[in-house]
């Protein structure tokens, strides 16, 4: 046999609740209880409200650049719902706020981060998540290491990392998938294919029919799903999480979704994409779809919606208030959290911060470094009072 087939594979697409309200009873059966669906919907609406407010905060100069999550709530929330809060690691980029909140991150942390304050990343004890990753694709390798540590210790913990379509072009993405596949690590890779990486359409990142098939390169489980269908998301992430827990095998999930807003508040998407495309996707808005599902099942009505909207506004307003009330960080913070113990050179810079041009005036040091060290604060970082957000 001169030409023989040595590998065959396929990629499947999963959808449970379609755009028209059709529901696949078989796949969807018992997946999420009605109560849970309501809670998930409420969470989506609240996150959407945060997006609107954050946008306004940026426009009025109260916050820096902000990336809206609008349109991608089902992907983030569905994934978070399928994972174990307080056990599994979430390793996000910057479009998964909704997932982080689901796993316990107070909302004002996210605001604080985009207000230019590192304390927005000071993940509270007991939460298993890493801060939003700014450099694209890099966080995927951290998920690999976190999952590896869990396996090493025999813990029942897995890691789920989120990234965009653009991220799949980065070398780190490949290295992460390859490590996870070859070292048998319990990682769930969730690609939010929202169609765009800023102004670059997804086909420039991946001209193959699906992004999901990236996983085939590693002999990894892979699946494409409707990322605006929270049921599909819960299903595929739950399957992947089970596989990870049971067999320490990774899965690559492509969640097909859409970024309804601009890339960030610094972007103007009208420069590069058709309004027709946006309009089409507005109809597929995951909030609309889930609300219809609930209404169809008599789980939801206008009254509930009104009260939810009011609640959401209140919750977001409280988070904004909280974030804005936090006193400005101290200049010395940048020194105090760099190393566990402050090196001498930094002690000097810190101590003479206000008195010298560079916090280090050679003429002041004529008494010797020892002398300067005495003027300096004596305590180590761990002893210093920490202002948590």
């Amino acid at each position: 046999m001169p030409r023989r087939t040595v590998y065959e594979a396929k990629v499947e697409f999963v959808q449970i609740l379609d755009e028209d309200g059709g529901f696949d009873a078989k796949l969807g059966k018992g997946l999420i209880s009605d109560e849970e669906v309501v809670a998930l919907y409420e969470h989506m609406v609240t996150c959407r409200e945060l997006d609107e407010i954050a946008f306004k905060l940026q426009r009025s100069g109260r916050m820096g650049t902000f990336p809206q999550n609008k349109g991608q709530e089902a992907a983030a929330i569905g994934a978070a719902h399928a994972l174990t809060k307080g056990t599994d690691w979430l390793v996000p980029c910057y479009r998964e706020n909704a997932a982080l909140f689901m796993h316990g991150l107070p909302m004002h942390y996210i605001l604080l981060h985009w207000m230019g304050d590192e304390r927005g990343n000071q993940i509270p004890d007991g939460l298993y998540m890493t801060p939003q990753a700014i450099p694209i694709g890099t966080q995927m390798l951290h998920a690999v290491g976190l999952a590896w540590a869990a396996k090493y210790r025999g813990e029942d913990r897995i890691a789920c990392t989120f990234f965009g379509d653009g991220a799949t072009s980065e070398g780190d993405c490949h290295e992460a998938l390859n490590f996870a596949a070859n070292l048998d690590l319990p990682v769930v890779f969730v690609c939010q294919n929202n169609g765009w990486a800023i102004s670059v359409p997804a086909k420039i990142q991946c001209s193959a029919p699906t992004i999901a098939q990236r996983g085939l390169a590693y002999g990894m489980e892979c699946v494409q799903c409707d990322g605006n269908d929270i049921f599909a998301m819960v299903k595929v992430v739950r399957d992947a999480a089970e596989l990870a827990r049971r067999s320490h095998r990774p899965t690559f999930i492509e969640a097909v979704t859409y970024r309804l807003g601009d890339h960030t508040t610094a972007d103007d998407a009208r420069r590069y994409r058709d309004s027709a495309e946006v309009e089409m996707w507005k109809k597929r808005d995951p909030l609309i779809r889930l609300r219809k599902y609930l209404v169809d099942r008599n789980q939801w009505d206008d009254e509930k919606e009104r009260s939810l909207q009011a609640d959401a506004k209140e919750q977001v307003a409280a988070a904004v208030k909280r974030a804005e009330e936090i006193a400005a960080p101290s200049t010395t913070d940048m020194f105090d959290f760099l190393y566990a113990q402050l090196p001498d050179q930094l002690r000097i810079q810190r101590a003479t911060l206000r008195t010298a041009s560079l916090g280090q005036d050679p003429t002041q040091l004529e008494g010797g470094i020892e002398a300067s060290r005495q003027q300096d604060i004596e305590e180590t970082v761990s002893e210093r009072p920490v202002t948590k957000p």
Binding site: G64, P135, I198, V200, Q205, T331, M334, L338, L346
Partner: protein, 322 residues
């Protein structure tokens, strides 16, 4: 003459070089229809088409590695890296290949490439959008590193860079992108790579800087009483040692200003060269006014970190008083 911002001056240089030489192509993330996130490549896609202005996949090592191949084949790629923080994934291709190809092949293959990178702090951007990594690349032999501080210099230096037969990192201080305008000739002209510029002449103290802090230096000097000479290096590799040395031999006192952390920053090299060449002329220790030896903080603290005019003024007083 046209009254242009730094962004416009660079845009004009790109247009003129692309008109003139079809070996010049622009590539990178969002450089196409979007015109770059800072709009530096605005209009190029429309004017030169998708063959010469190419949106690439989101992969910096890929952008630089492919550009090296394009350049070895004789084209003149001008890749854009979106922010200096994202130059890091391309560090390997830059230092391992771009910098070494000519040396490694004893001239058989060369890499005439100009990598454009917005750089520095001061615009309230997120993490990794405000760093100053230039000194890393100055320490790597085989690269040239250019940092214009004015629209005039930006246009002339970029044209020189694109025509230069060697790989060049062209750092654009994003804080200055739209900070002010300057009269810039509409015709093409070059500013030589490797030559500093005396911004303000003076006799008593030399202040040396490059990029965005040059503007802070001017403010600080205006607030000082001494006769201060301000030198804008413009190119940080190769360094114009002569301009530095001539000035400090005259003044005997020097202040060096940059945004990057102090330790092993370029200020150390400049100070060491001054010490080597002006030892008997020096009347005070050279002051380095720089970022602290910490990670560039998120933007609430960035102005505390950057060498703003007030800190520069203090340093001037300190060296004057010594």
């Amino acid at each position: 003459m046209a009254n242009l911002t730094l962004v416009q001056a660079i845009n004009l240089a790109l247009i003129q070089e692309m008109e003139k030489d079809d070996r010049v192509i622009v590539l990178g993330e969002d450089v196409g229809i979007n015109g770059g996130v800072f709009r530096v490549t605005e209009g190029l896609h429309k004017r030169f088409g998708p063959k010469r202005v190419v949106d690439t996949p989101l992969a910096e090592s890929g952008i630089i590695g492919a550009s090296i191949g394009l350049a070895m084949a004789g084209l003149r790629p001008v890749p854009e890296i979106q922010f200096e923080g994202f130059l890091a994934p391309a560090y390997d291709q830059l230092c391992t290949h771009a910098a070494r190809m000519r040396a490694r092949t004893r001239g058989a293959l060369t890499v005439p490439m100009t990598v454009r990178v917005p750089v520095g702090g001061g615009i309230h951007a997120p993490e990794l959008h405000s760093d100053s990594p230039a000194a890393f690349y100055v320490h790597q032999p085989g690269l040239k590193v250019v940092v214009p501080a004015t629209p005039y210099d930006a246009k002339g230096l970029l044209i020189s860079a694109i025509r230069d037969p060697d790989p060049i990192l062209f750092f654009e201080p994003k804080r200055l992108y739209r900070a002010f305008r300057q009269e810039v000739p509409e015709d093409e002209y070059t500013v030589p790579i490797g030559k500093a510029r005396v911004v303000i002449p003076g006799d008593e103290i030399t202040v040396i800087s490059w990029g965005a802090p040059v503007v802070q230096c001017v403010t600080a000097i205006e607030q000082s009483d001494q006769s201060i000479e301000l030198i804008d290096l413009r190119t940080i590799y190769p360094l114009d040692t002569e301009a530095i040395v001539n000035s400090v031999r005259k003044t005997g006192r020097a202040v060096i200003v940059h945004e990057a952390p102090k330790t092993a920053g370029l200020g150390a090299e400049v100070a060491s060269r001054i010490m080597e060449h002006c030892f008997l002329y020096l009347e005070a220790p050279i002051q380095r006014v720089t970022g602290f030896d910490t990670v560039m903080p998120y933007y609430k603290l960035e102005l505390e970190y950057l060498p703003e005019a007030e800190r520069i003024r203090k340093a001037i007083q300190e060296v004057a008083a010594y």
